[in-house]
């Protein structure tokens, strides 16, 4: 599903974010990415949907070689993975329904199919009744649920989440986590960068700790591991 071999990333300003990383994630896994700020977590996540590209090394996502992918094929990659961001990244001028529908419009789905599927996922995240509202009219938790709905609307094999609970209060964070659990239960791989100790220690899954651009620890069912 996701495979990294000796992936190395150096930014133009000289900072080495990933220093020869090797990792393999299988279909259907739920993986937490933890580690201190600036350790390379975000770079790791951003590479998955090709916001950043590896300087060297081999990286396969869903069979696509990200080190060699052509610029015009990047949209095709992004359609195969769902991404949830810390700051939600909803389109402010589109209402809830349109935001979720956008991910299906880019793949030129039929309007009837779009309608059916969007209402289905909005129902799943419990916000069907707010379909006509705009992002600014919703709470942070609701916005993140829309963002999750958008990430799964075209049934991707993997959902990448970059600190999805980072801007949310504890209670709403649990709602979002329950959503991810359900999505994972249906066979979707989840890759989630987080700073949330409580979540990692309660909902036990594989934990990959990144430090200094390398994997410091990789254990299934592990705990958060850093002192708060």
């Amino acid at each position: 599903m996701i495979q990294m071999k000796n992936v190395y990333k150096k930014y133009p300003n000289g900072i080495v974010a990933l220093n020869g990383m090797n990792v393999e994630i299988k279909q259907g896994e739920f993986v937490y990415i933890v580690g201190p700020s600036g350790a390379g977590k975000s770079t790791f996540i951003k590479m998955m949907y090709r916001e950043e590209s590896p300087t060297s090394g081999q990286m396969l996502v869903n069979g696509i070689d990200l080190a060699k992918i052509k610029r015009k094929n990047i949209p095709l990659l992004r359609r195969q993975i769902g991404v949830v961001f810390q700051d939600f990244k909803l389109l402010p001028r589109l209402n809830v329904y349109e935001n979720v529908a956008f991910a299906l419009e880019v793949i030129e789905e039929k309007p009837e199919a779009i309608r059916k599927r969007v209402l289905e996922v909005l129902d799943l995240v419990g916000l069907k009744h707010k379909a006509r509202m705009f992002p600014r009219e919703l709470s942070g938790g609701e916005q993140q649920r829309i963002s999750v709905a958008r990430s799964i609307v075209n049934t991707p094999k993997v959902v990448i989440a970059d600190e999805p609970t980072g801007n949310l209060d504890p209670e709403t964070s649990w709602d979002i986590m329950n959503l991810f659990e359900r999505i994972n239960a249906s066979g979707t791989t989840i890759l989630m960068a987080t700073h949330n100790r409580e979540i990692v220690n309660t909902m036990r899954h594989r934990v990959i700790a990144i430090e200094g651009g390398l994997i410091a620890r990789d254990e299934v069912g592990g705990d958060y591991g850093y002192e708060g």
């Binding site: 949209p75 990244k89 419009e105």
Partner: protein, 294 residues
Amino acid sequence: MKARTMTRHFRESLKSLGRNGWMTFASVSAVTVTLLLVGVFVLIMMNLNKVADDLENDVEIKSFVSLEADEATLAEMETAIKSMSGVESVNYSTKEEELSDLVLDFGDEFSLFEQNNPLLDVFYVKATEPQQTENVAKEISQLEGIEEVKYGEGKIEKLFTFLNTGRNVGLVLILALLFTAMFLISNTIRITIVARRHEIEIMKLVGATNWFVRVPFILEGMWLGLLGSILPIALIVTLYYNVTEFAQPKLSGEMIQLLDFAPFIYQVSALILLMGVFIGIWGSFMSIRKFLRV
């Protein structure tokens, strides 16, 4: 791109116009003001150009026939002049006709000369190109039986130089204004797009291709241009309609005429519309380019 996607882009571009509210208003206003300026300027310049043409075309060669020439020589001369290259028309006027023209212009005192007409028969010759007048005049003056040739020598050369300079200055001004208009409008559109670069980034991250992001913006630019050209066209058509209504009766029979309302004003309207649409599209296209690199 599938047809339903194109439909979607059209729908989105229209929706975006409405949801952008003030930004749309600002862009449309900028387009309106600029195009109005261009339109009025084009009206003025084209009419000045017409006046220049009229002045030039009014130039003619007055060839006086000597008294010795008989009927046969006259006929010969006329065919000779007509066969010269660069001659558009030849009009023969007898000395009696010349005198009655004089009386018409300057009053009855001149009718005294009817007893003993001192005038000469005249050929009025027009050159196909005003600039050829001088050459044609020289050629005519060499014909046998021509007493004298007059065409405003010295004065018309100055007039032609003056008119040509005027035309060139006008052309430069129009080009400068068009350039300014393009810059102004595309800059306004750029501001609205810069304000939305975050949206472009999100669309790209969700898997939209460049064209999928671009097309609605380009269509939106087109609508801005289209909306922005409505008012200028309406104003210019009204303005020119009133100007021609007012001026044409006063200018009837004069050598200087304004351009007719139709089809001139339709051409100017089409120009304004095309400019608006083109600049709208071009401005969006150029502004969005650098934000697509996500």
